[in-house]
């Protein structure tokens, strides 16, 4: 923050923005320098990049775990890995991919992109955003440290009781899993509130709700789902820790508890969770396709309604994970109907995209390639999803490799392929350089071929009787060849990911310089430089349509009069994005980081003793108090810009 007397704390920007404006904004909004400065950074783009990189780090870790699993399963009765390590491996793989990669990476992309796409200087609550990131990082580190010490969780990523309870999983392994949930869900819930507030209150003037990009809609709807679904897993993982640590009986049938209570609470969260991952993937599709097909998405309103319908319906499906239990059959039938019904809004999306492709003109670049793979992979996964929705079929293939195939087809086809496309697409905006196109194509084809080689045989493996979560299998069951083929596919995927990492790394220095809008896209993030300045826009835009860069813009086009010497943000109304008020946002602060450290001590300590909740909350309270306490002179500076309503 500028505290020197040279800075004019009451200066405001001109239209068009002057060089003085530009420099003042840069000095005001950039991250502080130095080591302390690095921990104090709260700019949403800085946090966004750290978040994305961390999530991909976990993706690689999770992938390596899977590679070891596949090597073990390549041959029957293999002795590469014994049952104890294998059970930790598949638990860590699922937990990493679901809690440390798939959901956080989407929130990370939103953290970077949403403020730019809606024409804002900042995300809402930037310090809380930083805090959420640090908490997520520390939770993941805790889990991997436990794994490295051979006390990683080993009861599966959905940790069914009583196996995961105090009687059958002694020690601290499952407690690390349960506390990881606390970390990641706390982080995720904060991010959800941040996204909703940003989208509702910080949009550019004129960006009415029906003008926001479909990607922003996807993240908004996802954030609402997160708010209502994550509490279920927070509650149930807390109940599990309590059962294990202080002797409660939530899941103990001998004392009135119920093993299925866990499943109900977990899957009430767990099913919407896969839509936290899928909906942002749909958002990427709707962001990338228009640019490379040279027209806006066909059927905007239908697409928005489809997102909302998917979100609502996703809360009504959870029992389809429990079809093999002794729940009443009539009830299960209801969930079959709901699980089939959710295909309808997804079909709306797919048909609208095909209509867009049909009536557009194709510019085939790597981002589009990854997006196109969705139509093969996700749709196939959707078909097997319909099969799993039908109780009689599910009773044969539930808990077999058929489900493993299905979930990877929908998650990788529906989220990871679009995500990789999104990285290729927005990398030039984030770094100022394009990724290498040739390497991108190799990356794509190796991934596509490797993926199908690895996972398609698993459909058959499941039908032919191979259950999941087995560290080995007998020879002569007819499973040998398919397992070997799947392993070859897994290795191919690993090679393709290596190419991806190399491409990301090399292009930082050697990529072609991108300019503001290398793809000729239509949305606001492309209206500023690549990479964007610290304040995102020199002058905030005024928007008149859905594709601001593609449509002719009447006047006014830019906002004048925002402060350049303090971090002032324009708050607009929810539906119509009319100007509401100006708000001064906080300066960089190290207290989110310190609070995250204190919270980590609280969470990790309470794995070992319930008293940690008491004594460790003292440093947390202190850190949070200092965080919110106004700095010296802060109120005085803000009052220079004060105007009452």
């Amino acid at each position: 923050m500028n505290t020197t007397s040279e800075v004019d704390l009451t200066a405001r920007n001109q239209v068009p923005p002057s060089e003085a404006d530009r420099q003042a904004l840069e000095a005001t909004w950039r991250d502080p320098a130095g080591l302390v400065g690095w921990f104090s950074a709260i700019n949403h783009k800085t946090i966004g990049v750290r978040f994305i990189v961390t999530a991909f780090g976990f993706f690689v870790a999770g992938g390596l775990l899977a590679a070891v699993m596949r090597l073990q399963l390549a041959r029957p009765q293999n002795t590469l890995v014994g049952p104890d390590l294998y059970n930790q491996l598949f638990t860590m793989h699922g937990t990493t991919m679901m809690f440390l990669f798939a959901v956080p990476v989407m929130q990370a992309m939103a953290t970077y992109l949403v403020p730019l796409m809606v024409g804002a200087r900042s995300i809402a609550f930037p310090r809380m955003n930083a805090f959420a990131y640090w908490l997520y990082l520390f939770g993941g580190l805790m889990l991997y440290i436990a794994f490295a010490l051979n006390i990683g969780p080993d009861a599966g990523w959905f940790t069914y009781v009583p196996l995961a309870g105090p009687d059958f999983s002694p020690g601290k392994r499952v407690d690390f899993w349960a506390q990881l949930i606390t970390f990641t869900e706390f982080s995720g819930l904060l991010e959800a509130v941040i996204v909703i507030t940003t989208v509702f209150k910080l949009r550019a003037v004129g960006m009415t709700l029906n003008r926001i990009p479909l990607f922003v809609w996807a993240m908004l709807v996802t954030a609402f789902m997160v708010m209502f679904a994550m509490p279920a897993v927070m509650l149930t993982s807390t109940a599990l820790i309590l059962d294990r640590l202080v002797g409660t009986h939530f899941f103990n049938p001998a004392e009135g508890g119920d093993a299925l209570l866990w499943q109900h609470l977990f899957w009430f969260f767990g099913h919407p969770e896969v839509y936290f991952i899928f909906l942002p993937g749909l958002g990427f599709m709707s962001a990338i396709i228009p640019t490379f097909v040279r027209r806006p998405i066909f059927g905007y309103s239908a697409m928005v309604l489809a997102l909302i319908a998917t979100a609502f319906l996703s809360f009504g499906l959870w029992v389809h994970h429990m079809f093999a239990t002794n729940l009443p059959e009539l009830g299960k039938g209801f969930f079959t109907a709901m699980s089939l019904m959710i295909a309808i809004p997804s079909a709306v999306q797919i048909f609208c995209w095909i209509a867009t492709l049909w009536t557009g003109r194709i510019h085939l670049k790597t981002p589009l390639l990854f997006v196109l793979a969705f139509f093969f992979i996700l749709v196939l996964g959707g078909m097997t999803g319909l099969m799993l929705a039908m109780v009689p079929l599910d009773l044969q293939v539930h808990d077999t490799y058929f489900v493993v195939a299905h979930l990877h087809y929908v998650l990788i086809g529906g989220a990871v392929f679009p995500l990789l496309g999104a990285i290729y697409y927005w990398y030039p905006k984030i770094t100022g350089r394009l990724m290498n196109e040739t390497m991108g194509r190799w990356n794509f084809w190796l991934f596509f071929i490797g993926f199908n080689t690895a996972f398609f045989p698993m459909h058959l493996l499941g039908m032919k009787g191979m259950p999941r979560r087995v560290y080995t299998y007998p020879a002569g069951m007819g499973w040998d060849t398919m397992n070997l083929v799947a392993t070859v596919g897994a290795v191919t995927i690993a090679v393709s990911m290596l190419l991806f990492v190399i491409n990301v790394w090399r292009s930082l220095r050697h990529g072609q310089v991108a300019g503001d809008n290398p793809w000729g896209a239509g949305t606001l993030e492309w209206a500023t430089s690549s990479p964007p300045p610290a304040a995102n826009f020199d002058a905030l835009p005024v928007v008149h349509g859905r594709e601001p860069l593609w449509e002719a813009a009447p006047e006014p086009t830019q906002v004048r009069g925002m402060a350049t010497g303090q971090r002032e943000v324009l708050v607009t109304t929810v539906v119509d994005a009319r100007p509401d008020h100006r708000s001064v946002f906080p300066d960089s602060s190290i207290w989110p980081f310190i609070s995250a450290v204190a919270t980590t001590v609280l969470f990790v300590g309470s794995i070992f003793t319930p008293w940690a909740v008491v004594w460790a909350s003292v440093p947390v309270a202190i850190a949070l108090t200092v965080w919110f306490w106004p700095r010296r002179g802060e109120t005085e500076r803000e009052m220079l810009l004060e105007k009452s309503p």
């Binding site: 049952p83 104890d84 059970n87 009861a155 069914y160 009583p162 196996l163 009687d167 059958f168 093993a259 040279r294 027209r295 066909f298 059927g299 239908a302 093999a324 239990t325 002794n326 059959e329 039938g333 079959t336 089939l340 019904m341 295909a343 309808i344 079909a347 709306v348 048909f351 609208c352 095909i354 209509a355 009536t359 557009g360 003109r361 194709i362 510019h363 139509f375 749709v379 078909m383 097997t384 099969m387 039908m390 009689p392 079929l393 009773l395 044969q396 539930h398 808990d399 039908m463 032919k464 259950p467 979560r469 087995v470 007998p474 002569g476 007819g478 290398p518 000729g520 349509g545 593609w550």
Partner: protein
Amino acid sequence: MAARRWLARCVAAALAAAVRCNAGEPALGAQSQDALRSAGPQASQVLDLWLLTLGICTAVFAAILVAFVWALWRAPRASAGTPADTTGLTQVEHRPRRVVIVALGASTVLLFVLLVASVSTDRSLAQLVLRDAVHIEVTAHQWWWSARYDNEEAAKTFTVANELHIPVGRPVIMTLRSDDVIHSLWVPNLAGKKDLIPGRTATLTLRADRPGVYRGQCAEFCGAQHAWMAFLVHAEPAAQYEAWVARQREPAATPVAERALRGRQVFLQSTCVMCHAIGGSGAGGQRGPDLTHLAGRTTLAAGALANDAAHLAAWITDPSAFKPGTNMPGHVLPPDDLQALVAYLGTLE
């Protein structure tokens, strides 16, 4: 004494190593645990539904792919500089709208077809005729199965472990319970699976219409040895089944051969009796599989090993060499005792 102990250990280790190289139960063949090879009405109704669904889904998938590929193929090429066509923002696009609505309508109809097919299969499965059924109460444990064949006359009930025999053509009603964690009973050639949940009682009904040996496996992750918690279902004609039942109802015969007698002594004097029961011998342990008719089974350790002398000896000596984490402790016996014990167990037909 110490030298004998040491020798016993070496022999056990050698046996274990030899057996491990050939470990694995006798291969029943690739179709003995296979949902695509139905041997009874439950599995075959599911297979019928599967084929219908596969057909519909393949057709839909193909249609989507064709539309998609065709769209790509016929679209003109463009570049980043090509001006974007924003007419869709201000004008209604009638033709695409109609096509999307029709496609959506067709999809909804097909989804409804699947729903009806699913519900109707559900009903058929529930309507299996249960007259004259065999009643089996299955209890799952970490990592083996016990099964009690019920009868109105208490004296006619008997308990087996890991290998069931059922009569071809008669329905079987299985009551499912768990002793510890959640397991799942799944024999794909015959029926879909059902979870065994502690604190709850579930029911699975099925019928085998073709004789054969069908392999099943626990299908809910249940801990360290979930991978080796299999079971066999021998479906056999009525006469054979009744003969088997009659044999099961009898207690174990006192052996005649001296070695086997000595083996019985070894059994009764060691810790085996704390977990295992052998009818008629006085041993009544309930924590492990019932061994009364062990020699009649084709596998050991819930389908992990073939049931022969070498495997049995190695298993008794060090179970965790084959199933690390198993609850059965190892027993290092002097080689003579071990051979005698194995001989005795071999008489338990």
